[in-house]
């Protein structure tokens, strides 16, 4: 059994970093980061050998229990168990969905460099486990709202690849008819409220959605997502205060990828323990690269907030790309750090290893899934490229409902 205290201390890894003036933390500390925060593949295999489970090749609904990479850390709350129930079917679907999301983001990178996507493009690769784990814990009647790193959340909510790529390229088949762009994906029928460009402004919106849910009494909740950069916005604390005051069913999810654009969390926050920043509001710290941990935390959070009012989830995650396509992502962190995390904590690799060690599928079958996913993405891009630009009448459509006020604006 690996030393749990060592793994627990992984959450303090960034506080180990010297607060020097240099932008890149020293290599020794970064090696410590990788070592301590790794899912410790060895214990996983040991667990695989020792944990009783009954999955067989054709038995994909059989419940199996997997331990999360690290235990949860709580603030003013008793943490949920590390043992997560899952099925082979679910693990395979995690693998497929995350591979799809990864492929979509990488394809978006190429499209941006080919100047087919313009403006701002914020990619989510590395963070897929948060999107996928959350969906596994909730229904499409629960609401999600996030900021501008929204492509994968959109997919998770049932958005189609063709809608995503069309929107990115500004075509009329886009989910916002080409009028929103990368930062404004929405899917009303799946309670996905976007897609917002101004850091932190979506947080009060999310709490307002929860207010609407409280009115409707349908026992649904809202996951209001934001990043470590937005965690220092005043409106977060204002909205959290009101949500706690009125017992709104809202879960604030901080996707802590440790960098607010180019500023590391320890340079922006006096206290980067974002799960504790709610003070009187309970919080949970979760390994955001472990889809099963995310699922467990979200399930737990949903049950909690329906009875007790808001809570905060901090997802410890990482983005491989820079903040956006105009940021190479290497001026404020080392390439070693990025490749280290990719090697030790990649969410897709973790699920792959789980699937292989439990013999749910073979390596070749998984490779086939990846090939399939790649074909799907390429087909969607080809289709999106053929899609026409919006008609000029769209310029003045949807400013007002029923086109009010258009007559004295139009030329």
């Amino acid at each position: 059994m690996p030393s749990l205290s060592k793994i627990c201390s992984s959450f303090c890894f960034l506080s180990l970093l010297p607060r020097s003036r240099s932008r890149a933390p020293n290599p020794q500390a970064m090696a410590a980061l990788r070592r301590f925060s790794s899912p410790a593949i060895l214990p996983l295999r040991r667990f695989a050998a020792s944990c009783p489970f009954s999955a067989t090749a054709g038995d994909d609904q059989a419940v199996m229990t997997v331990e999360t990479s690290v235990p949860f850390t709580g603030h003013r709350i008793d943490t949920p168990s590390r043992s997560v129930e899952t099925t082979p079917k679910e693990l395979l679907s995690f693998f497929r969905e995350m591979s799809l999301m990864r492929r979509m983001e990488i394809a978006a990178d190429s499209l941006y460099k080919a100047k087919l996507i313009r403006g701002f493009c914020h990619l989510y690769d590395g963070q897929e486990a948060v999107a996928v784990g959350m969906e596994a814990a909730i229904t499409k009647k629960d609401a999600i709202i996030t900021a501008y790193r929204d492509h994968c959340i959109f997919l998770g909510r049932g958005g189609k690849l063709i809608e995503a790529f069309s929107e990115l390229m500004g075509r009329r088949a886009g989910c916002s008819k080409g009028k929103g762009g990368s930062m404004h994906f929405y899917r009303r029928e799946a309670e996905f409220y976007g897609g917002h460009g101004i850091v932190g402004a979506q947080i009060p919106l999310g709490c307002g959605i929860a207010l609407g849910q409280k009115y409707s009494k349908e026992e649904t909740v809202t996951f209001t997502m934001y990043g470590d950069g937005a965690a220092n916005q005043g409106q977060l604390f204002e909205a959290l205060n009101m949500s706690a005051l009125w017992d709104l069913p809202v879960i604030l999810v901080c996707e802590n990828n440790h960098y607010g654009m180019g500023t590391a969390e320890w340079r922006a926050a006096k206290s980067p323990a974002y799960y504790k920043r709610g003070d009187y509001v309970p919080g949970l710290k979760v390994d955001g690269m472990d889809a099963l941990a995310v699922k467990q935390a979200c399930k737990f959070a949903k049950e909690h907030v329906l009875k007790n009012g808001p809570m905060i989830l901090e997802m410890d995650t990482y983005r491989y790309h820079g903040h956006s396509m105009s940021d190479p992502g290497s001026s404020y962190r080392t390439r070693d750090e990025i490749s280290g995390i990719r090697q030790e904590r990649d969410p897709i690799e973790r699920i792959r290893k789980l699937i292989l060690s439990h013999e749910i599928s073979t390596a070749n079958e998984l490779k086939d899934i990846e090939k399939e996913v790649r074909k799907e993405v390429d087909a969607a891009i080809a289709q999106a490229k053929e899609c026409p630009m919006p008609d000029s009448s769209e310029l003045f459509a949807n400013i007002y409902v029923k086109g009010l006020g258009v007559k004295d604006q139009a030329p």
Binding site: H184, Y186, R188, A201, L205, G208, I209, G212, G234, K402
Partner: protein, 309 residues
């Protein structure tokens, strides 16, 4: 609120206190604390929350205790309230009403005497309406609540004590329509909110002097009711705009442009626009009087415009 359970009120002291200007008096007792939400002092977020709630189908009436405080919520009002319908490709509507008292009061000081209509007028997707009488306040408020679009309803601090007999039956006014206050033949005076009363005071003097002004309360600040305004200009050929917001970038500036663009051929004289001075509203009573347009100035402006042939 009786007719539609999705209508709710959000603001500071709107509930138990009854509203700082008593606009929401008695509502909390009748409808409860969730429908008449007393918020902490957090304009940016409670406006955002109202917008988020509207996205789910509620119809919040968000109150700024003083319009000026809503400057703290400018981002929410501009980006989320005004633009979400467009950026979501029409998926979400934001049927909120944002209301509150604004305008120059009696020596309330610079920060409590702001006129936000000029700041908000560029935001696409918002409708701006200014009420001025008990009759149009009720009608416009109902229309604003029923509208699927976000509406900013500008009330005025000095007009809350007006008393007027209004119909018992239900009535709803049109948000985009201007109000003909006094038909006339000689000159079109366009105004809104409190300045309507200064204009009518000036009109009395003008009528005694033999003039025949047509007074229109434009009510709809965005979009302008160019139909009513245009018909008037085609009749009188002279325009005077009397407004309370600042000269620079105010409603009058935009209205002037719109009139020039659309009705240039019908004008016999330049369009005059009387606005407040571009100064922070001073505390001293005499100075405050000089910042806003007074009836005497309106009278001389009309006399000046009517001299031109």
């Amino acid at each position: 609120m009786e007719r539609d359970p999705t209508v709710c009120v959000i603001g500071e002291d709107v509930g138990h206190y009854g509203g700082s200007y008593k606009v929401t008096k008695g509502l909390a007792t009748k409808f409860g604390d969730l429908r008449v939400l007393d918020t902490p002092i957090a304009e940016n977020s409670f406006t955002g929350m109202g917008i988020g709630a509207a996205m789910t189908g509620l119809r919040p009436v968000i109150e700024g205790m003083n319009m000026g405080f809503l400057l703290l919520a400018f981002n929410q009002i501009s980006n989320n309230c005004g633009m979400l319908h467009y950026t979501s490709g029409g998926q979400f509507t934001i049927p909120v009403v944002i209301r509150g008292p604004g305008g120059v009061g009696r020596q309330l000081g610079a920060e409590h005497s702001q006129r936000l209509e000029s700041y908000f007028q560029s935001i696409p997707g918002l409708q701006l309406v200014a009420c001025s009488t008990p009759y149009n306040a009720k009608g416009l408020m109902k229309a604003a609540i029923r509208s699927e679009n976000p509406v900013v309803l500008f009330e005025h601090v000095l007009l809350y004590n007006l008393k007027e007999k209004i119909p018992d039956e239900e009535y709803v006014l049109c948000l985009e329509e201007a109000e003909m206050v006094r038909p006339g033949d000689q000159i079109t005076i366009l105004t809104y909110s409190r300045m309507r009363y200064h204009v009518m005071q000036a009109a009395k003097t003008l009528v005694n002097k033999g003039y025949d002004p047509e007074v229109i309360d434009i009510r709809s600040l965005k979009p302008f009711d160019l139909y009513t305004i245009g018909n008037s200009i085609k009749k009188t050929h002279r325009v005077l705009i009397v407004e309370e917001c600042m000269r620079t970038g105010g409603i009058g500036a935009s209205l002037r442009s719109a009139i020039i663009d659309n009705f240039w051929d019908y004008l016999d004289a330049e369009i005059m626009c009387l606005s407040s001075q571009d100064v922070p509203t001073p505390y001293a009573g005499t100075l405050e009087e000089w910042t806003v347009v007074q009836p005497a100035q309106i009278v001389s402006a009309v006399e000046q415009l009517c001299k031109k042939t």
